[in-house]
Amino acid sequence: MAAITLQNVSVDIPILDVSSRSLKNNVLAAVTGGQIKPTAGSKKVTIRAIDNLSLDLTHGMRIGLIGHNGAGKSTILRVMAGIYEPTAGSVKVEGDVAAMFDIGFGMDPDASGWENIILRGMLLGYSRKEIELRSEEIGLSTGLGDFLSMPLRTYSAGMSTRLAFAVSTSITPEILLIDEGIGAGDAAFLQHAKERLRSFIGEAGLLVVASHSEELLRQWCTTGLWMEHGRQRAIGPLDEVLTAYNDSLSAPAG
């Protein structure tokens, strides 16, 4: 059974600018007691992206993450995916995880469509044999035809998204994490691929989606999780949470 448990999780993300990325500047600042600071504001800044968050997500849940930009939606997805290890607290994830954050990742522009299916498939966890067996079927489902033997750089943006998407949705993960915010295709694309997504999402035991598209969330999710400044503002049935969120948006600031 798929499950995700977060216990008092906090995540601090270091903000590294050009100057704090320089060893020379750091050494110089240290040995001179901070007297020499080549540029102002070179001290290390961290942003608390997730603040003491506890969550208990169980099998069958369809969670929609709601919140402003910078509310911690993407960060929490990365924590669930095991990419960001939290600064405090503990995370327990049971089940195979598939993360769809940036749909274009792991593609080689100079390789052909077929080669990219193999490459991406292996990055997603297929063995060489498995992906070679399935590449035919995946290739067909892209509907790209002869283009598959051409290098990826000759593709239009839409075509390469279709290819990436076909490979990504060929797996059947127990836990599916989707971030619409960082280019997992804009809402329009996701609408376009609706059919494919419906069955893909339907098979997942646990779904977490971050999106600004209300329509999309209503279609896929049943539970809403409203994030604000890295904290959980509200969790409950999607409709209620969305209404509360919209009310707060229309309410005058202050």
Binding site: P14, P86, D96, V97, F105, D108, L119
Partner: protein, 280 residues
């Protein structure tokens, strides 16, 4: 269902003590090794991709190294007034080994910053990137090694059974390359000016190491050569390929350095592994 590398149950506890972190690193390395099909594949691609659109492909590596060795060999054998039949093989092997050692150290700086894209997109044991890196360096070395075979054939070098000693030598060097990536990788992801510092150190080290010149040319300054770790690593590989064994001192120093580097790398990697995703 593909054999996914996202483990069935993933538990991350930020409060883990140092021993817990060490266990995590061990896990990471084991998991990474289990995914060898992936990094063997990716490592090959790294080398191929560099030269994808050229006719010769990775043989460019061989060719450019070959031209360099031939040119420098002829020039310096004149300068040093040495027999070219003796000097050129010596120089060639030294150069090839240096290409491997120096190249690996310089490139190890970027092992994580270059992979930033996939580090933030999917969960892979971070050791996968380290293994992939060492493997691609070994492939590049393999291409350069062709030059040694050509030269050995041309000059009739028959190293005999001693040549087998080159295998443990290469293993030691590759291991150190891996440790380097585990230390310099996270460090350079955090501090972006370290790669430049490393590159200049490596450049100086090249001239300080007996590659163009031989250690026997300055017998009265043996200490100067002996304190240079690169000398010992070059020697344990070069000597067997020329039909000798390398001195016991060479081997002991290399084994000692490998152990120290290994301990350092484990300590460093276990301390900073979790931060790499934030830095890269």
């Amino acid at each position: 269902m593909p054999a996914s590398f996202s483990q069935r149950v993933l538990t991350i506890n930020a409060a883990d003590a140092a021993t817990g972190r060490l266990a995590t690193v061990w896990n990471d390395l084991r998991e990474g090794f289990r995914l060898r099909e992936l990094w063997l594949f990716l490592g090959w691609r790294d080398v191929r991709r560099h030269y994808q659109r050229s006719v010769l492909g990775p043989l460019w590596l061989t060719l450019s190294m070959g031209i360099m060795v031939a040119g420098l060999g002829i020039l310096y054998s004149q300068i040093f007034k040495m027999d070219i039949r003796e000097y050129l093989p010596f120089l060639a092997i030294g150069f090839i080994m240096w290409g491997f050692i120096g190249g690996t150290i310089t490139a190890s700086c970027n092992v994580f910053s270059n992979a930033a894209g996939s580090i933030r997109q999917i969960r892979l044991p971070l050791s996968v990137y380290v293994f992939q890196f060492v493997w691609s360096q070994l492939i590049a070395f393999g291409h350069n090694f062709v030059i040694y075979i050509i030269i050995a054939a041309l000059f009739g070098i028959n190293p005999g059974f001693q040549v087998l000693l080159a295998v443990p030598a290469l293993i030691l060097i590759a291991l150190n390359g891996m440790f380097c990536a585990m230390i310099l990788g996270p460090l350079c992801a955090r501090f972006r000016d370290i790669p430049m510092i490393i590159a200049s150190i490596i450049q100086v080290a090249f001239f300080m190491t007996p590659i163009l010149w031989s250690a026997t040319q300055i017998p009265e300054r043996a200490v100067f050569v002996n304190i240079n770790p690169f000398y010992h690593f070059i020697e344990i590989a070069r000597d067997p390929l020329l039909g000798q064994t390398g001195s016991l001192l060479n081997w002991l120093v290399c084994i000692g350095i490998t152990i120290v580097m290994g301990v350092l790398a484990l300590a460093f990697f276990s301390r900073f592994r979790a931060r790499i995703a934030y830095w890269a």
